[in-house]
Symmetry: C2
Subunit: 616 residues, 2 copies
């Protein structure tokens, strides 16, 4: 295509954006129109992509960070021949692949779900890291951002990460149309303001007229030829470009054009240009990953004291030796999470993200889109920082492993800011997630190996302090299972615990047995999904479940057991011990006692239930 033809292509993308939104009666045509020329030039001149083979290893990768401009994306797919006009007009309707914001669940050409702003660049950095450090394939990553979303801190975490890693295979294109949703952005059309920021963070910057095809072409060329640093193209554009009644006007965000037919006419009418994009460069198909023998660490002696975070680090290192597709990411706490064990053995597959948890998870998502199996670790408490990224990972349907250490009040003296006591609630409510919480080193190792093979968001909760080894090295721990650690026909209730409270429950059961009160103890290491069968059996046989958890009362283990009884069957009596007060500093044992979740508290609670004849 020559320059005028690319100009025409830009108009076609505008027209099709207007048409799609008009058909839907909703959507963001004006946000699409501002970036149409940027997209047209990219499609015609730069993007090396085989739409028939979206998994081609040599394909460039395009991320629409401003996901609300989905009409533009779908118009581009149509221009590339990937979808037809009839499908374009299904935009936003029930069952259509063309959702309001694009997701890879439905469309093979979408790398990652967007629509929560400020996430495309962090994920793009992960993809670019894969290309540069792991795949060693020369594909480029193009991320189209809005100007409004540059206010998100996650963008600057990504900017820092990309420059530090010298990701010259990454180009951010910012559609500076000066208008956010509710009005002007902070910096309007001041491209220099953005340029100064990106330059300070170590990026190469190019400022262009985002509606001048030749100017854009030149900028893309400059990005491709810039070595050693990522490039950002700051493009001055007009929202609603090309239609006078909406162009550069406020108050029109997220609305179809009022007079679509007239607008289309003003844009030169419907076209049906077809762009033959560039083919991806030849690239070896990534070898099918052949896992070697897995030598998980083994703790042979029951009763030995081992922290589950130590077991995690060792198991992850072992898994890395067995599986060449496993990578690890750290939020500058690898000495605490023990991800450092992996770093020492597999430095080439270890990614230091520093204290930037959104970027930590964003990069993990990006790596996962390229087929890697990421394990990202930080303190459980600090993974809350990445909640929105975790949520969007679930929307993407991508598989990532997140590991939160220093769970609960059991960490002791550091106090509440460092205690993960909301993490189970956060991860349980994520769509399609798996939530695991081991109490023992061998169990941890087995779960680490298992979680790597699951779908969706997998979360493992580890503990700071050492706990006795309970299980043998060969024991199996299926997801959705549990372990009944103590049972008799006389059990008067069932203690349901996980992690540190398993050990407290066992101690309590021992003490209660000495007083003639038999109780069952279940290790609910799989918090989601839960072991319905075992919980139902315990309910039928003992009548009461007493849950004990180092977590706030809401959304954790106490709520999780309910999943076994939600089909209308009789529900057992339920009693919950959990962290109900705000802790201060104290030793781990003092913390567990103050929270009422240590053995002594459990004994007291059980005796109270027995004395009041709540249990048999």
């Amino acid at each position: 295509m020559n320059t005028p033809e690319i100009g025409e292509l830009g108009q076609q993308l505008r027209v099709d954006s207007v048409r799609a939104a008009a058909a839907a009666g909703s959507g963001h045509p004006t946000s699409s129109m501002s970036a149409a020329d940027l997209m047209a030039v990219l499609l015609a001149r730069q993007l090396r992509y085989d739409f028939d083979r979206p998994s081609h290893p040599g394909n460039d990768r395009f991320v629409l960070s401003k996901g609300h401009a989905s009409p533009l994306l779908y118009a581009a797919y149509k221009a590339a021949g990937a979808i037809d006009d009839a499908e374009l007009l299904t935009f936003r309707t029930l069952g259509s692949r063309l959702e309001g914001h694009p997701t890879p669940r439905r469309l093979p050409w979408v790398e990652t779900a967007t629509g929560s702003l400020g996430q495309g660049l962090p994920v793009g950095v992960g993809i670019a890291l894969s290309g540069k450090r792991l795949d060693r394939v020369g594909y480029r990553v193009w991320v189209l951002c809005g100007d409004s979303e540059l206010a998100e801190g996650s963008v600057w975490e990504a900017a820092e990460h990309a420059a530090y890693e010298g990701l010259d295979n990454l180009t951010a294109i910012v559609d500076v149309n000066r208008l956010g949703q509710r009005g002007p952005t902070r910096h309007g059309h001041d491209l220099d303001a953005y340029a100064r920021r990106f330059q300070a963070f170590g990026w190469h910057t190019v400022e262009v007229d985002g509606h001048d095809v030749e100017d854009i072409e030149r900028a893309y060329g400059e990005a491709v030829s810039t070595a050693g640093q990522p490039t950002v193209i700051l493009a001055r554009t007009l929202k609603g470009k090309g239609v006078a009644s909406v162009q550069d006007r406020e108050g029109l965000h997220g609305k179809p054009l009022p007079e679509a037919d007239e607008a289309i006419e003003e844009l030169g009418g419907v076209r049906d240009l077809r762009v033959e994009g560039l083919q991806p460069q030849a690239a070896r198909t990534l070898h099918a990953v052949r896992a070697g023998h897995l030598d998980l660490p083994r703790w042979e002696k029951k009763g030995d004291e081992v922290a589950t975070r130590d077991a995690y680090g060792q198991a992850l290192a072992a898994l890395g030796s067995s599986r060449p597709d496993v990578v690890a990411l750290d939020g500058e706490v690898s000495d605490s999470t023990r991800a450092e064990f992996f770093a020492k053995e597999h430095p080439e597959r270890f990614f230091e993200c520093y204290i930037a948890e959104q970027q930590l998870v964003g990069a993990a998502v990006g790596l996962a889109t390229r087929g890697w199996v990421p394990f990202a670790s930080s303190f459980a408490a600090f993974l809350t920082r990445a909640h929105d990224f975790v949520r969007m990972a679930a929307v993407s349907g991508v598989g990532i492993n997140l590991v939160g250490s220093h769970a609960g009040v059991a960490i002791g003296e550091d106090g509440p800011s460092q205690m993960g006591v909301e993490d189970l609630a956060m991860f349980r409510t994520v769509y399609g997630s798996t939530v695991l919480y081991p109490c023992d080193a061998n169990q941890t190792a087995a779960l680490v190996a298992t979680m790597a093979g699951l779908d969706g968001v997998r979360y493992l909760r580890t503990s700071r302090g050492a706990m006795p080894v309970l299980y043998g090295p060969g024991e199996e721990f299926p997801v959705g299972g549990s372990k009944v650690l103590r049972r008799s026909t006389d059990d008067r209730l069932t203690l349901v615990a996980a992690g540190v409270t398993v050990h407290e429950s066992l101690k309590a059961a021992e003490a209660l047995a000495a007083d003639g009160i038999a109780v069952r103890v279940v290790d609910l290491y799989s918090v989601k999904p839960v072991d319905r069968e075992t919980l139902r059996e315990a309910a039928e046989q003992t009548g009461c479940l007493l849950t004990v958890e180092d977590h706030h009362p809401e959304g954790g283990i106490g709520d999780a057991v309910l999943d076994a009884f939600l089909d209308g069957r009789p529900t057992p009596r339920l009693v919950r011990l959990a962290v109900r007060d705000m802790p201060g500093s104290a030793t781990p044992a003092e913390q567990l006692h103050a929270a009422g979740i240590d053995a002594e508290s459990i004994v007291a609670a059980v005796k109270l239930l027995v004395e009041n004849a709540v249990v048999r």
Copy 2:
């Protein structure tokens, strides 16, 4: 104090940091030692603060963003005469006010809880906004940051916000000791790297030797005399400064000094200098806020269709007219959340935070510490971005109102990225939180007025679409209450709903009644705390609770009802309808149907329970 005496004071702060950590057997003395001279000069020369009157309106405000350097803070308190030496040595023990990371719950001189990095500056911006735009008092805000935490995106959200607002009453002091927890930072001692970034974001920067008292004095003076922009002081320091065996060494983060006695000797021994700080400038005591008459908006006609987000915006504007202490903050979506109604009526108390949800909540926390009653609104889905800030607000014990709009799949075509379907779980598990979810305009208005007077984190969930007015304008909705909208002695189960599902439940109940099946309907507008009495009565009288919620199954209304039955009493049968699949785009009605939470789905579920004799 003269310069040598301030040098001595710095040594005393080091010695006391070492002593406190040694007594505790844990803590972060080396991170304290790097910043000791910065703190000594601040205390002796700049901080205008009356430790006997921490609520003095003219007091400067100091925030220790690097909260792990708490030994330094407590050593400074001792030097100022606020605590004695005996208390200093209680550091990190059970019941001590001197926690591992400082919190205002325990200490009156702490503005905000820190310990999750990258939060001090965002909160400091909120305090500075209060001083500059609302209090109009000339106090200064000093925030001591670590260098590692500058990797957090939230710091750059704050940097952008502070410069844009021209907060020349704000000074960030960065203790660039080049070492993070697990090793060197990205930029080490390259002060210029940080300076470039802050300058690009619009800050005045000063680079200093952080162990040269005169240099520091000069820098503070420059900060105070800089008009129109905030200042950052980038101080080159050494971690563990003053003790050769630990100074500038890796692997010593968060550990007491190995030979404390020798270290103290090397630092010149124990001192007992007492610093007479500067007194705050005279400032009027902020007037006790006298609330005027509250004219809440009224919707007189039942059945009229009104969106709860509209009711929120109108009620907030009315509340602002009545209460001069109410302020509102927006994450660049005020046209959607309807916070714009407040903005139009009270522009001087409206804060646009652009698309930066961490800063949105951080600024709200800062404003709340100065006695304002902030309402911060965004989409429910995007408040997940600020989860860690919400968590820390709870640790602080500060009162903030957060309002999440566009709840649930009911938003329709925009798709899953915009749908809040995890927010109830996130907010319920926050310590001391209140979670409200209205289904009607008058209810919304009443709850907005009520929540302003509560303690802790208050969350209100609003909906995008219009819903019929159910309640009269004068009706009361106490926190912890519910409304029984339909009841009879023949009820065979109870539908428990909130928000949009209240209306679906009422329709379902009507249809079921036509088939001779009576069901009770409860509007559980107070999701936390729940109305135990009404739920227990419904359980006793109907035997089964069927919860219906526009939220994922975990952590929402279905779990919330359990709170009424956790003392070991018999639990009713529980059945849960919730959003179990990943939605795509569709109309609101199609979404509710696909999720199985519309009237038709409820009818089908109830009939299934009746047919299978699960209910009476």
